[in-house]
């Protein structure tokens, strides 16, 4: 390396040390630095193109009539179709899912942060299980839902209740929701755990020192503080589940239903699946293009807006975490 005197690369004003950069111009640094910058820009551009394309095309095609109509069998006709049952179906399946996933996820996270010792074998196995659950392909969850919930739990329930035909042992809203709950469990656990860790240990110590038991401390001190994090987890799980199609393909979604679902054993129509149907089974793709874009926009608004909110809350929790330690 060539010798350089400090005056060549040190800024005169000490305050500028923070934005210190090498003073000599180095072509390869510039070239490769620019290359990585371009990679970043390309990714951002992809995101922007997808969002802008869908928003612009979808916005011109969407109308109140479209969002609030229950379509007849032929939903490929742009003039008469609507997506109300799909919106309702997606909302219900996601809502039922949260009833299962949030309690289980939050309690597991409480165990991991408040009770478990990090070195014990059980804790390590639980953590490995959570990591693995997060990586299982969504279609495998679909197979699991079919093999376990429908063919095992449902069929046995039917036999137990002496139902004449299959009531529980067939694709249904409840099985789709349970499959999604299993899939989003790691999301809720990780988010809750993160927010539980962000709470200063001093709060717990103060509560314990005042004579509260461990459970009282968790219930009255820790959980209220962790609420934003739990909400983030719930929202992330909802946004992830609302857009997933593969796990519900065999566990409850219907191509067409004349009425809205009114029991947990009913099948349902779904936004994401409807996007799939419109884009792959349409007799005339040019004719259905506008309603397809409108449906995608609604789906994206549902999932993306939720995700955006969750990212905002999470950024705040992370900041709190950094300042807390």
């Amino acid at each position: 390396m060539n010798t350089v005197t400090p005056s060549q690369y040190l800024p005169e004003n000490p305050r500028e040390f923070r934005n210190f950069r090498a003073a000599r111009f180095d072509f390869w640094s510039f070239f490769f630095g620019g290359l990585t910058g371009l990679a970043t820009l390309l990714i951002l551009a992809i995101l922007a193109v997808i969002l802008v394309n869908i928003t612009l095309n979808g916005w011109s095609a969407i109308s109140w009539h479209f969002v609030s109509t229950i379509p007849k069998k032929d939903f490929f006709n742009p003039d008469t179709t609507g997506i109300l049952p799909m919106i309702i179906g997606t909302t219900i399946r996601v809502f039922v899912m949260t009833l299962f996933v949030i309690p289980v996820g939050v309690i597991t996270a409480i165990y991991l942060t408040e009770y478990a010792s990090n070195t014990s074998l059980v804790t390590r196995i639980i953590r490995a299980a959570i990591n693995n659950l997060a990586g299982v392909p969504s279609i495998v969850f679909g197979l699991f839902g079919l093999g376990f919930f429908i063919n095992f739990v449902g069929k046995n329930l039917d036999a137990l209740l002496h139902n004449p035909g299959p009531v529980w042992g067939q694709p249904a809203l409840i099985w789709a929701s349970l499959t999604l709950a299993v899939m989003t469990l790691p999301v809720v656990i990780v988010a809750t755990e993160e927010s539980l860790k962000a709470i200063p240990p001093g709060l717990r110590e103060a509560s314990l020192a005042l004579g509260a038991t461990k459970l009282e401390t968790i219930w009255k001190i820790v959980l209220p503080q962790a609420l934003p994090g739990i909400m983030t987890g719930g929202i992330l799980a909802v946004s992830r589940a609302a857009g997933e199609v593969a796990p519900i393909l065999f566990t409850g979604v219907a191509y067409y239903m004349a009425s809205l679902p009114h029991k947990v054993t009913d099948q349902f129509m779904d936004l994401g699946y409807h996007v799939f149907v419109l884009s792959t089974q349409s007799p005339n793709i040019e004719q259905t293009r506008s309603i397809l874009y409108a449906t995608v926009l609604v789906l994206l608004a549902l999932t993306f807006a939720l995700n955006f909110v969750a990212v905002l809350i999470r950024a705040r929790v992370r900041k709190q975490l950094r300042s807390g330690h």
């Binding site: 992809i46 804790t123 095992f152 799939f276």
Partner: protein, 395 residues
């Protein structure tokens, strides 16, 4: 992680559950309940293992027979054979068998004979029609079916003679996945280097969550975008023949992989101790030299883990590949179509008869997929864990 307070000097209960010095039965139960719920994650992983494997099991053991022409026993022989043999021949469960009288059994045997008589004439002398097509030999090795000039790998689960060769699906999956990784990994790692090492803090705080937001786009929307917009664009750009092919699917798959690889690689690059960077900068190297020669080599295990986890994400992605391409061809050509394992499961499960051989093979494919992602996740997590402890130890 910080140890929970009040744990160091308090007595430990069973399996790490803390109990206060005074007996409180309600709390004791509540804490046991919390522990039991925490175990549910382990239970779920085990259940997935057990129930996906359970449905696939008869295929692995070679218990089902898909031959078009099955051996026929004349109904007159009913009395000559042992009950166990008849039960096996008619594929009945012991319970069903016990509930049937002689007449029913005879009728069932007549049905079998009729079914054999209904086999189309052109298959009567076909040696392939007598073979069980879900032997392992036929599932992984090429076979010269009648009417073909040379041994070939064929996946064709519908038709008179059902062909269940898994090789086209494995090749299709790997082809699409590799295209996706070749597109996504350089981009994501480049962006991770830029964001973690070169960008100003303010840029970083905006860019990082924005890229991670890419993972918030549902895969069915990415598939839709690839099908309607990107396929045409890429065809105009590269000028290949078929509009929908493995290349388009791979690039679209890359969109789903980028946020995974980016966020793990960025994490790894950031967790390299500040002292490394500061030392390099103090010795006069530029930002880029520091990033390329100091930080990246130190974080290489993390980047490797990001790639492995990205592979796991890509191999299991369903909707994108399902919407973009689905014809099963055995070819490594990027611009040919491909049919992935996930596509096959999603597209064919609805047609497969529950409990039939096709259904079981789809579950077998699911089990293979599960095993592949399980292993890649294990490797990825293990590498990251070791990397993190190493980095924290040196801090």
């Amino acid at each position: 992680m910080q140890p929970a307070p009040n744990q160091s000097n308090a007595p430990h209960g069973w399996l790490g559950i803390h109990r206060g010095h005074k007996a409180r039965p309600l709390e004791w139960f509540a804490e046991k309940f919390i522990f039991a719920v925490a175990l549910s994650t382990i239970a779920v992983v085990l259940l997935i293992f057990v129930f996906v494997a359970r449905e696939a099991f008869p295929v692995v053991l070679g218990k089902s027979n898909t031959a078009l022409i099955q051996p026929v026993i004349p109904p007159a022989d009913l009395d000559k054979l042992s009950p166990a043999k008849i039960q096996e021949y008619l594929a009945l469960t012991p319970k069903q068998f016990a509930g049937m009288d002689r007449e029913t059994l005879r009728t069932l045997m007549d049905v079998k004979v009729e079914a054999a008589n209904e086999v189309p004439v052109q298959f009567r002398d076909d040696p392939d029609a007598k073979r069980n097509t879900i032997e392992w030999n036929l599932m992984v090795k090429p076979h010269q079916w009648r009417g073909y000039d040379k041994p070939e790998y064929i996946w064709q689960p519908v038709g008179e003679i059902k062909k269940f060769n898994l090789i086209p699906l494995v090749i299709g999956t790997l082809k699409v996945t590799l295209i996706g990784l070749f597109f996504a990994v350089p981009l994501a790692v480049g962006a991770a280097i830029y964001v973690s090492q070169l960008a100003r803090p303010r840029v970083r705080e905006i860019v990082k969550p924005t890229i991670e937001m890419l993972s918030g786009i549902p895969s069915v929307v990415v598939g839709f975008f690839a099908l309607l917009v990107m396929a045409t664009f890429l065809q105009n750009l590269c000028g290949y023949q078929t509009r929908l092919n493995a290349f388009v699917a791979g690039i679209a798959l890359g969109f789903a992989v980028i946020p995974v690889v980016f966020s793990i690689a960025e994490d790894a690059l950031t967790s390299v101790p500040q002292a490394y960077t500061q030392a390099a900068l103090a010795l006069g190297s530029s930002r880029w030299q520091t990033a390329w020669q100091i930080v990246l080599p130190a974080a290489l295990p993390g980047v490797f883990a990001a790639t492995v986890l990205g592979f796991g994400r890509a191999i299991g992605e369903t909707m994108i590949v399902l919407m973009v391409c689905s014809a099963s061809v055995v070819s490594w050509n990027v611009f040919d179509s491909a049919r992935s394992i996930t596509t096959t499961i999603a597209a064919e499960m609805a047609e497969a008869v529950s409990g039939g051989p096709h259904y079981r093979i789809l579950f077998l494919l699911g089990a293979l997929l599960f095993a592949a992602t399980f292993i890649s996740n294990m490797i990825g997590d293990f590498v990251i864990h070791r990397f993190k402890t190493k980095m924290e130890g040196k801090r």
